[in-house]
């Protein structure tokens, strides 16, 4: 156990891709925590999907030892956090476990929307903030401009900002010194009863549930009997340790320290993130404040392409949910798609990540239905229904009014593109709340309906601003609006997996866009297929997919028979896997892609 004055705990926060994980690599390497030969880029991004996409999804904790210039030995606990807005929850709870933040800003890009969002969270958490200007090895790096921006836009002193290249290692020593010098040591009472914060938990195939804890007061030792204050469940502690970054067991964790425990906990569900852990006997009576649980905001149906794989899908969803409390699921049935699950996600990236993992790690091909947010349906009888799936929309005559979730969106954009951004927000039913300037960049704040944002707002924003805008959002609450359910009919049959809620004034436009998209997404068949959008019984948009006229092999002789027959068998098998809606085969990708709009 280390003396409190020799501990520093901090998170590394930044806008997406500004180099948090690469900076963590250098800190780990410079301090000799990992041997050079075991190093690899973004060492902490260990999930396949993280490595493939080059982004961090899960926050990671590492303990490093550092001998500072003052000759003293320090223990530094760093938490590398994700940058993407879908995983903002990971950042906020990580911050609750530490006293300071390294605010990384890419010195070729400057302050972006998540830079701001993270700073506000850090300030909320009473953090000491050390600004780090990264990527100074790049020719486009402009530290003076970015330091000025930090002062102007964020309002924190950037004179001491450290100039770093996480790529070359320049400035890493200075960063380590600043951590020791600038960040406060944790406070805590070694002799007080145990009070520890449950920061995170996940399932490990060998060790069972692993709990990440931050000790506030007292000492946690192997063999202690601990109590989870929210459930009063008691567990004997099997193992205590720290991440370096692989797991290393130690005998005890004292105040100010961050580490893990295992205690024969069966399910991740038995642990509550933000809970307070104390000793069974002589425990504390007042828990820590805890934190708000994360809430899924985007919902969609996941159905196996092959009906026979339903049980496998159930299995894979259960396993993934074990490690991801922000992912929810319940069984769903659809007339056309059979059995599946309605699942909730933190955002579209989160949805894509989960879908990818089910498809790849479990080998199940999926149909993903149109994503939806949660609507509040207020009934005439005064009750309220939470609608996760437009297909379940109750009889309109029973409905009094409908409310939809709204968000506060913050967008930073170079002046040149401001017009396009305002138009995009306006088109998406946004209400402008603020517009300020920081140098040549505008910061706009909009109140927007979440359903206009979830599918493709970010893609559109990137495309209209050539990638120069950044975006962050927070949920603000529910508001009534004139919303209707729009159905899509393919070959005169309603396809419930394509039903969406839309604003009445935008219905025609959305309907037209969707049927046009579907016309491209559905392959031509041997007959012509009308594709229509309807509200109630009224058709508001219509396209016709013309019939295929020619699809025949020109040459087919004796030597071709085997190959053509095998090809036919393959097409046949492919078609068997496709879901038929009436007589029409709709490809899996169509359900999400139909919603993406070109404007």
């Amino acid at each position: 156990m280390t003396d409190l004055s020799h501990i520093r705990n901090f998170s590394i926060v930044a806008h997406i891709d500004h180099g948090k994980s690469t900076l963590a690599d250098r800190l780990i390497q410079e301090t000799g925590t990992v041997q050079d030969r075991d190093m690899k880029e973004q060492l902490l991004d260990s999930m396949d999907i993280e490595r493939e996409r080059g982004i961090t999804i899960k926050a990671n904790t590492v303990r490093i030892d550092y001998q500072a210039e003052d000759g003293e030995n320090y223990i530094l606990n760093l938490i590398d956090t994700p940058g993407h807005v879908d995983f903002a929850y990971e950042v906020s709870r990580s911050m609750r476990a530490v006293e300071g933040s390294l605010l990384v800003v890419d010195s070729t890009q400057g302050v972006e929307a998540q830079t701001l969002a993270n700073v506000y969270q850090a300030i909320d958490a009473d953090h000491e903030i050390v600004p780090v200007l990264n990527k100074i090895d790049l020719p486009a790096s402009d530290c003076d401009r970015v330091a000025e921006q930090i002062e102007d836009v964020i309002g924190i002193d950037a004179t001491g900002a450290i100039q770093v290249s996480a790529k070359t290692g320049q400035g890493i020593h200075e960063t380590l010194e600043a951590i020791v010098r600038e960040l406060p040591a944790p406070k805590g009472e070694r002799d007080a009863p145990l009070k520890a914060m449950l920061v995170d938990s996940w399932y490990d195939a060998y060790l069972g549930v692993i709990v990440l804890v931050r000790i506030v007061d007292g000492v946690l030792k192997k063999g202690d009997r601990i109590r989870m204050m929210s459930t009063n469940a008691v567990y004997p502690v099997d193992r205590i340790g720290v991440f370096r970054p692989e797991m290393q067991t130690i005998d005890a964790l004292g105040p100010g320290e961050i580490g893990f425990l295992t205690a024969s906990i069966k399910q991740v569900r038995d642990t509550r993130v933000g809970d307070t852990i104390t000793h069974e006997k002589k425990g504390v009576s007042e828990p820590l404040p805890g934190f708000k649980p994360s809430q899924p905001v985007v919902f969609c149906g996941l159905f196996p392409v092959d009906n026979a794989e339903f049980e496998d899908l159930r299995d894979s969803i259960e396993k993934l949910a074990l490690n991801d409390a922000s992912f929810s699921s319940e069984m769903e049935t659809s007339a056309a798609l059979g059995f599946g699950f309605r699942c909730g996600f933190l955002g579209l990236l989160h949805l894509e990540v989960i879908r990818d993992r089910i498809e790849r790690e479990y080998g199940i091909e999926l149909i993903t239905t149109a994503p939806s947010v949660i609507y509040h349906i207020h009934m005439r009888d005064g009750t309220m229904i939470e609608l996760h799936n437009p297909a379940d929309m109750p009889d309109l005559t029973l409905v009094d009014h409908i409310e939809e979730p709204r968000i506060k969106a913050t967008i930073l954009v170079p002046d040149d593109y401001l017009g396009d951004v305002l138009k995009l927000c306006q088109d998406r039913r946004g209400i402008q709340q603020d517009l300020t300037y920081a140098g040549s960049r505008a910061m706009v704040v909009y109140d927007l309906p979440l359903n206009e944002v979830v599918f493709d707002f970010y893609d559109r924003l990137k495309s209209v601003t050539k990638g120069y805008a950044s975006f962050d959002y927070q949920m603000t609450g529910y508001r009534e609006d004139f919303l209707v359910k729009m159905q899509i009919l393919v070959n005169d049959e309603p396809v419930d997996a394509l039903s969406t809620m839309v604003h009445r004034d935008r219905a025609e436009m959305r309907g037209r866009a969707m049927v046009e998209k579907l016309k491209d997404l559905i392959p031509r068949h041997m007959f012509k297929i009308p594709i229509q959008a309807a509200i109630g019984g009224r058709i508001i948009a219509r396209e016709t997919l013309s019939a295929l006229r020619k699809d025949v092999t020109a040459k087919c002789y004796g030597g071709d028979a085997t190959r053509k027959r095998k090809l036919l068998d393959k097409q046949k098998a492919g078609k068997k896997k496709m879901r038929q809606f009436g007589k029409v085969d709709i490809p899996q990708e169509a359900f999400i892609n139909a919603l993406k709009m070109d404007s």
Partner: protein, 384 residues
Amino acid sequence: MIEDWQNGGFGVYVHWPFCQAKCPYCDFNSHVVAKIDHESYKSAYLFEINKKSAAISGRSVTSVFFGGGTPSLMEPDTVRAILTALKERFSFSNKAEITLEANPTSVDYTRFQEFRDAGINRLSLGVQALNDNDLRALGRLHSVEEARKAWEIAQSCFDRVSIDLIYARQNQTLRDWEEELKQALNRGFSHLSLYQLTIEDGTAFGDRHRRGRLPGLPDEGLAADMYELTQSLTSSAGLLGYEISNHAKADEASRHNLIYWKSGDFLGIGPGAHGRITLNGQRMATENQRAPTVWLNEALNSGTVGTMAPVSARDHATEVLMMGLRLAEGVDLGRISLICPDLIDPQGMSDLRDQGLIEIVGDRLIATPRGRALLNSVLVALID
């Protein structure tokens, strides 16, 4: 009771795998080599014939087809030796059709007479286009003028001459094709093979196409228009479209190719050749090594040639259906249900009938003209 293969008859296919140049669209088993040891190849063909005929001697051959590659580059003596060997082992029907595929260059047509003397009585000439620019774009070594010379010589040497043309070429308009096809129809051929250009994987065109470097190909609508125009022009000229890409005057259809479409038996001789042979009531598929030298070595040194495997009843029935629906006369449903009773999906069949893509006439299942143009999709819907 007759055996199933007798619905189609029995023929022999001989593959010659060499060409003067490789055409960029072609995915046939064809190769360009500096030197060919004709004597060794001859021995190998004879060996394979000897080997494969043993189990089925006593049958009567109605057709032999020398295909390629470019079999008009074979030594006429090799052709003669092969035919002699076949005649020693099988009886030949009086009107046996003996076809040779030929390219219309001088190297080839100066030998037409010798091929006739060796026993060839039908020539299939790969003209491909009646326009020099397009011939160049197709990588052909001959001009229209040479092709004309070739078919004139051919018409003087052989009883029956057919030419191949490829349409739906780069930048070809419907009018261009109409003009070109009319010209061909004016030459008095009794048989035409008219193929829509297919972009095959693993060819130079396939490669260019994938990289977006093969502009001007027709869209599906234009291709369909060209196909329909082809059907109507040929039929008004008295050449019945008896198969998707083949058109002939009465009685002039390729009897050999009909064996394939009617799923008869055929020996497949030569590199990469496939065969179908019914032995003791079981249909067998034979397949040879594609690479010419591998096949050659095997034939000359190992004592066996190629592989042979049984065709399941379902696969057999699928072939009968898939090949048979290519024909204007369609296919015998009773024959299919005898081989595999549950091959056809009754719901699919009734939908296709409602859509006017197939019809049932007596015991025959026939794809309508619209259905034939969509045959790949029709088959997917038809098979259970």
